[in-house]
Amino acid sequence: MASGMAGVGIGYVVASYVITWAVLAAMLVRTVGAVRRARAEYDQAAKGEYRT
């Protein structure tokens, strides 16, 4: 029973970790990018170069 479940479940386990890591990596990249863009926008605005 245990070995049977282990064999059946391994693909789902791998998928769950791949999805988790992919989602968190995407969030990391998106978040760091958002901060950089927003900071650049603020720096421009603070210097009086902001254009809407």
């Binding site: 901060v35 863009r37 926008e41």
Partner: protein, 237 residues
Amino acid sequence: MSPASTNAFGPPKPAPAALGWFAVLFFMGAQVYSVATSPADELMGHLQKMMYVHVPAAWVTFAAFGVVLVASLYFLWTEDERADLLAASSAEVGSLFCGLTLVLGMLWGRPTWGVWWSWDARLTSTLVLFLIFVGYLSLRSFVEDPHRRGQWSAAVGILGAINVPIVWMSVKWWRTLHQIQSNPRGLSPEYLRGLLLNVAAFTLLTAWFIWKRYEAARYERAAEHASQAAALGGSNG
């Protein structure tokens, strides 16, 4: 001009880069450690290892929506726009983890229950929670006035967060397919260590995400305030 839109504030205090690196490395270490050291469960086999992503993802979902609740109440009380931005940042991160929890739950359900989805009380209430916060984020993109956006989204955020205890208790109130949450005292130490490590790692990563999303939101608003001030200065001068 509405009160919240006059809440001029400067740039935020940036989250330390070291905290971000530590959160990422701690997360990776916790994941590798728990997968490598936990033996296959007698009944569930290797499926048990999904506990190290599914349970922490659910936990940080609840924690992030708890932050939304507190920040929304604080915004309604004080009209401090920073609280509204914190609530929005936390809702964004919480929604991501709520969606992830649902997907991981489906991956668990298929081999154990034989179905990807069931209209079970826990699954349905979690889906409702997710949809409320998708609505929250959509609402924020539709409303331009910061004060009105803050008030409306605070109301939706509080409503959504009230759903969290319902999701938590759903497995006790309605005994359907989803098992009752495990008591940590009932877990064997090799599983408990991995679970607690991953809960800590997900919590740290979530806190860092919220801080960075909040930082970005603060910069955006500070840029708007600075440009408005420059425009007013230019028209006065």
